[in-house]
């Protein structure tokens, strides 16, 4: 009798989760599963073989390098932007904050065309650079520019809230003890930011790894030169090589899973630390 009750309670506590899985099955889980099903259709041997071609190896390496570079640049740029927006006061501050958050909402294709129109041979910068023999579009630099643009808001989103909540008393105390602005940042602000910084960088890294819309416009989609992993997947899928496309997609999915697990783990850890400090 008592056991029945426990059992029933267990069931009812699992109901919401079961319902969620049921709803998400056709929306998210099955499409994700199909990536792995198609990747492994020809057996593990085929899966491996389609991953070790020169094109795939290059595409994966190139994607990882671009993602890393994007994460580093936006970690610096984004943190600086968050610091300025949070700690200084100037007219138009809020509007600037909104503008800096826009890249997530703008269609990525538009980002691609805007970059082309600015840096391309007919663009403002492009025309100035042309006499110097510099043509940034359709090179790895173009891919980097596009990724910096579309992932910019992530650092702002993770770092600025931390800065906003940071008690100014600590900073003021540091100043009164004669610390410089830089010393204050290094010893007071930075330690508090660590969690947000890491989470933001990983989010940036993950998005950059999967970026497609802007990249396809500005990269020129050249194999062994500017073709990222998502572009490789697209062109393989378009030529009907579904297994090859899904094999690389599976690798990206696994990489993203690891990345997001890392993000969750870090978030949980810094959350605990924050709570302890609060006590």
């Amino acid at each position: 009798m008592n056991q029945d009750k426990v059992f029933n309670r267990k069931i009812s506590s699992m109901l919401p989760a079961g319902f969620l899985v049921l709803v998400l099955l056709p929306l998210l889980l099955l499409p994700l599963a199909s990536v792995f099903i198609y990747a492994l259709r020809g057996g593990l041997g085929n899966f491996g073989a389609s991953l070790i071609t020169a094109d795939v190896l290059f595409a994966l390496r190139f994607s990882l390098i671009i993602a890393f570079a994007t994460a580093v640049i936006n970690a610096l740029l984004g943190t600086y932007a968050a610091y300025v927006l949070s700690k200084t006061r100037f007219p138009g501050r809020e509007q600037l904050g909104i503008v800096l958050n826009l890249p997530v909402a703008i269609p990525n294709v538009v980002v691609g065309t805007s970059l082309l129109l600015l840096w391309g041979p007919i663009g403002l910068f492009g025309q100035m650079l042309e006499p110097l023999g510099i043509q940034p579009m359709f090179t790895p630099a173009a891919v980097l520019l596009a990724h910096i643009f579309v992932t910019f808001p992530y650092m702002l989103g993770t770092v600025k809230p931390v800065l906003d909540d940071l008690e100014t008393t600590y900073e003021e105390a540091a100043y009164t003890m004669g610390a410089s602005r830089w010393q204050t940042f290094l010893h007071i602000v930075f330690p508090a930011l660590k969690g947000g910084l890491l989470t933001g960088s990983l989010l940036t890294f993950a998005h950059s790894l999967g970026e497609f819309g802007a990249t396809v416009m500005v990269s020129g989609n050249l194999r062994l030169r500017t073709q990222t992993a998502p572009l490789y997947i697209f062109s393989q899928f378009e030529s009907g090589n579904i297994q090859a496309a899904n094999s690389v997609a599976a690798v990206l999915a696994i990489l993203s899973f690891i990345l997001f697990s890392l993000i969750l783990f870090l978030a949980a850890r810094t959350g605990k630390k924050g709570a302890q400090r609060g006590k």
């Binding site: 041979p121 359709f138 062994l224 378009e238």
Partner: protein
């Protein structure tokens, strides 16, 4: 973690840098990808290695001919482009990417191979389509390419129009009413010949108007989702090679020229024939038993060349009249 980092940067480490091969940067229209990357280029690689002892690497990108042309106009660093239609080559000249019609100085006026436009239908031909005229019956769902981005689409429209006007005893309006009938039944417009094939292969539509090569390629890879219908009269598409001189540096000039010459060599032309293209050298075409017979083949020159056909058939009849008549 460290292993992943090391693996990622491995090819760029100083020890790996020295044996960088020379490169050829090629942009091509969609259906060329397998034959260039797996047939033509490996053969050239071997030949170049035997002659000079140097290794050479192909850097390539493939898409709809119109898309590729737009990329070239935006400034992608292509040294060689292979376009589906001469129309796109003319656009390159107009945009100043090349100064003159350089492709006309190449063998066969820049044409490397041909392929007739055919109709792909489902096995057993359930809709009883035996010619372009069979596509206008109600209830036929046609997968077509998009003339904005695809060379195949431009060829297909001229094929549909030309087949109608060349029919003995056809009236003055035959071409237009054929286009109207076919385009009423178009349910999907794909961005490139390759994309259209993928859509048809995945089970969508009853008929696809495309390159014979594309159908032969699918059949030779064991696809059982299609059957080829040869129209009585159809166009043979001609694919144009363009060398982008301004992107070829002085020290690469010889390599690029060798590759371009190789495209018309008997060895390369045989590879094209094996993968379903019809060679510009008629003698080689008997070696592929899959090529079907066409009663009345015609060429773009029969309509005054692309410059004229684009204005009169694509722009005037198809875009300005047929599409407007179809608007509900």
């Amino acid at each position: 973690m460290l292993a992943l980092v090391l693996w990622t940067i491995w090819p760029w480490l100083p020890s790996q840098r020295s044996n960088r091969p020379r490169t050829i940067v090629l942009y091509g229209f969609s259906i060329l990808e397998p034959v260039i990357t797996r047939g033509i280029f490996p053969a050239f690689q071997k030949k170049w290695m035997a002659e000079t002892g140097q290794s050479v690497e192909l850097i390539s990108s493939f898409g709809g001919s119109g898309t590729v042309t737009n990329q070239l106009i935006m400034g992608v660093p292509a040294e060689i482009a292979i376009l589906s239609t001469e129309l796109d080559a003319q656009r390159l000249k107009k945009a100043g990417v090349i100064r003159t019609e350089t492709w006309k100085e190449l063998p066969h006026k820049g044409v490397i191979n041909r392929t007739p436009f055919i109709i792909q239908v489902r096995p057993g031909n359930p809709k009883k389509i035996h010619d372009f005229s069979g596509l206008i019956q109600p209830g036929v769902r046609i997968v077509h390419t998009d003339p904005l981005t695809s060379g195949a689409a431009n060829w297909a429209i001229v094929a549909e129009y030309g087949a109608a006007v060349r029919q003995p005893g056809s009236g003055p309006d035959a071409g237009r009413s054929m286009l109207r009938g076919i385009w009423r039944n178009v349910v999907v417009q794909a961005g490139s010949g390759r994309a259209a094939r993928t859509q048809f292969d995945s089970g969508f539509g009853d008929a696809l108007i495309t390159y014979e090569q594309d159908a032969i390629w699918s059949l030779s890879r064991g696809s059982s989702r299609l059957e080829i219908v040869y129209p009585r009269s159809t166009i043979l598409s001609e694919h144009t090679v363009v060398v982008i001189d301004s992107h070829v540096s002085g020290k690469e000039e010889k390599l690029i020229k060798a590759f371009v010459d190789f495209l018309w060599s008997e060895e390369a032309q045989r590879i094209f024939v094996e993968s379903g293209f019809r060679s510009v050298d008629e003698r080689l075409n008997s070696s592929n038993p899959r090529f079907g017979h066409i009663h009345d083949p015609f060429f773009i020159d029969d309509f005054g060349g692309w410059q004229k056909a684009k204005l009169s058939i694509i722009d005037d009849i198809w875009r300005n009249r047929v599409l407007k008549e179809l608007k509900p």
